[in-house]
């Protein structure tokens, strides 16, 4: 079983002091420990952006992939070996701009893995431009007169795309976030958490203070996350109050559970030698 020490790496962390990514890093490590997973059972996959560096800071199997393509890469890993716990980390630009197409399709495909989006509503690593979740009017170097398009709503989209586990977290609520991650990883199927992650350097609007004033936990209200219609309504709540927690959850067979011919066998266990193709050849005679 992993300990916090096992998870540390010798790599110097270069996130800005106060960056919301630290909260995600802490929560992930705690969740992995709480789940009593062995280190060799877990694979972390990340995209490109400040968020992507997280793979350098957790001493676990990892694939630091390319911008926007976390999901197909992570799907490939999990489809081959169902015994692995696969967790993907993407940025808001990474997933909702460059990788938007894969988002909907991965949700639909329902491969048993977890996606955590570090949603700071800005492109961090490229020094502060507008992303798909930046609010309308957001002024940056790429949109000096304010963003013209309204922000998209990843949580609502995930529900509409037939998501089976849709949640929102906030790094200002680490215990709550850790619990969400534990639930998400335990979920059989594709689980998704959009995490509010303040970028202290480039997003002066959506700050800790801004979130602290608005965020509330669904667990503290009477809320049934199994009702899809209600969940969709809840996902659109935005303004003075913004909900965090599990917004929608249902049970549905994962992609691999539909493949009865391989059940839960890792494809790596199957032989590559002496594969018999004679019956196909015979049918071609």
């Amino acid at each position: 079983m992993v300990t916090l020490e096992d998870l540390n790496t010798p790599i110097k962390n270069t996130w800005c002091p106060g960056c919301g990514n630290f909260g995600i890093l802490t929560a992930v490590k705690r969740a992995l420990i709480r789940l009593s997973l062995e280190r060799n059972q877990v694979v972390l996959v990340s995209g490109i952006g400040c968020h992507g560096k997280i793979v350098n800071h957790i001493n676990i199997n990892g694939f630091h992939g390319i911008h926007g393509r976390v999901l197909p890469l992570a799907n490939g890993i999990k489809l081959v070996n169902p015994n692995l716990t696969v967790v993907g980390f993407a940025g808001d630009a990474d997933q909702y701009d460059e990788g938007w197409g894969y988002f909907t399709h991965a949700i639909r495909r329902n491969v048993d893995m977890t996606l955590i989006v570090h949603d700071n509503m800005v492109l961090g690593l490229t020094t502060g431009q507008t992303t798909a979740t930046s609010r309308k009017g957001f002024k940056t170097k790429s949109t000096p007169f304010g963003a013209i398009s309204p922000a998209l709503n990843p949580v609502a989209h995930a529900i509409v795309s037939n998501g089976t586990f849709v949640a929102r977290g906030y790094v200002g609520e680490i215990t709550h976030l850790t619990r969400l991650m534990v639930e998400a990883i335990k979920h059989k199927g594709f689980s998704f958490i959009d995490v509010f992650q303040p970028c202290v350097s480039f997003n002066k609007i959506n700050t800790y203070e801004w979130f602290n004033q608005r965020v509330y936990k669904l667990e503290e209200e009477e809320y049934d996350y199994t009702n899809r219609q209600k969940a969709l309504e809840k996902s659109m709540e935005w303004g003075d109050r913004i909900p965090i927690g599990i917004i929608y959850k249902e049970d549905r067979l994962s992609y691999r559970d539909n493949l009865s011919h391989i059940m839960d066998v890792s494809l790596t266990q199957l032989p590559t030698e002496d594969i018999d193709i004679s019956s196909i050849l015979k049918s071609m005679m």
Partner: protein, 581 residues
């Protein structure tokens, strides 16, 4: 009289089952011990338009279709008007005279034998939607060729369920009977059974041969997004997903496909994807990631003429330079171009071995004419190429004092490959430049070391390839003319050589099978021996010529190029070779 040398064309509108009929006929001839070659020509539409399928049958070895047609089964008048001039003198047309008439004026010639068969009337008599006019036509053709009908009946029974098969056999026999009655003495184009080569021959196309190669290589993960002409491979693999314990995914895009391949391979299985040029453009980014992360992968690119959507259902060789250079940055890769269906099988096995041995992407470069044309072949020797998984630490736990490092520096550049899930290892890789542990780095010294490590693999690979058939020579070492080519042109080139063998002219042909790393020494040697060198290629800029010049510093004397989407036909090619002289 035309015995055991027949070229049959079936033509008509799309959706009329033309390819299927051609396929059935060819397979019947194959079972009769004859050599067969089948190729199709279709447009990018589903109904209407003009489609045709050519089957060439011979008792001797053949490599491609021929330039002329002996018999034409025309399902509409347009087919006749388009192809009338390709018919040999005294060629025959089977058509339905109750559907449309044909006059000598329309044909512009008087030497054609017209065989009107009431195709539609017979179909109507059978009152079943499942029956097509072609089947009746096939019956008539078999009668005209005086070929044992049992082979075709056997093929039909093996292909369809019993109800459909019975109906088809009925239609076939009605066509046969009609022809027997009306054209009994007219056996100008005869086929007769050959006993010698009868056994163990298969009829398949390039896509299927590549699929078989992948299965035999132990590929466990195939993912693709449909794109002509590679779609056939997706269909083939998907149909076998369950039987072969694989996962076959129809992904949402080629970008998704190549990233899934990367994930699957990182997780530890042999993985593959295929596409055409447009899809490969989307894969370029992922290709570089495979190179950087040292992840093995096999990618098949079946070319069609570009740029952009180009001629979606036709053939070309415009992507050679592209696949050699695709993606930014520098990294080792292998590009292999099989030239016929048999090579499609064996080269796929080699591709999987090289991908894993060197932990690099390997591209199998084909085209529409290669992957969609059928050849009758000897059954493959499935043991000729064994499985070599390279330095893959498979099925074991990691037991060493030393910490495992995915990108460990080694003398030959190849690091031992562990997979996630193995006990005792952390497997970490990175699309950023990285250290031996896979952690991101921008250290200048380390960068040089890592780049050199990846290119040391290439040096090792180049040495290894000396043991591979990276080029193939047809003909003797010395000749008056030396042809150079790659991929699909091999078949018409060999056919043209057969045709020119009667002339007082010695020709040989060097097929370049491995295009990257380029077999420089072998090519240079042939160039030095060549009296006159000619590159034959299906593109505008003769990419092979420039590649040869780049590597050997020698120039090619002549280029024979074609870029209208249609493969060379043997007569055309032999004439163009003669023109050069």
């Amino acid at each position: 009289m035309n015995i055991n040398k027949i070229s049959l064309m079936i033509g008509g509108e799309a959706g009329a089952g033309i390819s299927r009929s051609g396929f059935l006929f060819a397979k019947a001839c194959l079972r009769g011990g004859l050599q067969v070659f089948g190729t199709n020509d279709y447009q990018s539409l589903i109904r209407g338009g003009h489609n045709f399928y050519i089957v060439r049958v011979d008792s001797e070895e053949i490599f491609s279709q021929s330039e002329s047609i002996d018999l034409l089964l025309a399902l509409n008048k347009e087919t006749i008007l388009i192809h009338k001039d390709e018919l040999v003198p005294k060629g025959g047309i089977i058509y339905d005279g109750e559907d449309f008439t044909v006059s000598d004026e329309e044909l512009g010639r008087e030497d054609i034998n017209l065989y009107s068969v009431p195709l539609r009337q017979i179909v109507n008599k059978l009152k079943d939607k499942l029956i097509v006019r072609n089947t009746v036509g096939l019956g008539a053709i078999m009668s005209l060729m005086a070929f044992n009908l049992d082979h075709l009946i056997g093929v039909i029974k093996d292909t369809f369920n019993s109800k459909v098969a019975d109906l088809n056999v009925k239609a076939l026999k009605m066509g046969w009977n009609f022809a027997q009655k009306h054209f009994a003495e007219d056996h100008k184009y005869q086929l007769s059974e050959q006993k010698i080569v009868k056994k163990h021959r298969v009829f398949l196309n390039g896509n299927e041969a590549i699929g078989l190669g992948a299965l035999r290589a132990g590929c466990k993960f195939y993912v693709a997004y449909p794109m002509t002409p590679a779609t056939g491979l997706l269909h083939f693999m998907a149909s076998l997903e369950r039987e072969y314990g694989m996962i076959v995914v129809h992904a949402e895009s080629e970008i998704s496909a190549i990233n899934m391949v990367a994930g699957a391979s990182f997780a530890g299985v042999r993985a593959m994807t295929a596409t055409s040029g447009g899809g490969f453009c989307l894969m370029s980014e992922g290709l570089g990631m495979l190179g950087m992360t040292e992840t093995p992968a096999v990618i098949m690119l079946a070319q069609r003429p570009g740029p952009s959507t180009g001629l979606p259902t036709y053939s070309g060789q415009g992507d050679l330079r592209f696949v050699i250079h695709a993606s930014h940055g520098e990294f080792p890769r292998v590009v292999i171009a099989p030239g016929d269906v048999e090579e499609c099988f064996y080269k796929t096995l080699e591709a999987f071995n090289l991908a894993e041995k060197y932990q690099i992407p390997v591209i199998i470069l084909t085209d529409k004419y290669l992957v969609e044309s059928y050849e009758g072949l000897k059954v493959f020797d499935v043991d000729r190429i064994g499985i070599d998984r390279g330095r893959y630490l498979r099925g074991k736990d990691y037991e060493s004092e030393e910490e495992y490092q995915r990108h460990k520096f080694t003398r030959d550049g190849i690091s031992p490959r562990a997979i996630p899930g193995m006990k005792g290892v952390i497997v970490r890789t990175n699309s950023n430049e990285h250290d031996e542990n896979g952690y991101t780095t921008d250290n200048p010294e380390l960068t040089i070391k890592m780049v050199n490590k990846r290119f040391r693999k290439r040096e090792t690979l180049v040495k290894d390839l000396e043991n591979y058939e990276t080029v193939r020579l047809y003909g003797s070492m010395r000749a008056d003319i030396t042809l150079f080519g790659w991929g699909t042109t091999k078949r018409p080139i060999r056919e043209a050589m057969k045709r020119l063998s009667g002339e007082d002219l010695k020709i040989n042909f060097l097929q370049i099978v491995y295009l990257d790393p380029f077999p420089t020494d072998k090519v240079r040697k042939m160039l030095q021996l060549a009296q006159k060198s000619i590159v034959v290629e299906e593109n505008k800029t003769s990419q092979l010529s420039s590649l040869i010049r780049e590597h050997t510093l020698m120039t090619i004397d002549h280029e024979i190029l074609k870029y209208n989407g249609r493969p060379f036909n043997p007569l055309e090619l032999s004439n163009r070779i003669k023109e050069v002289l």
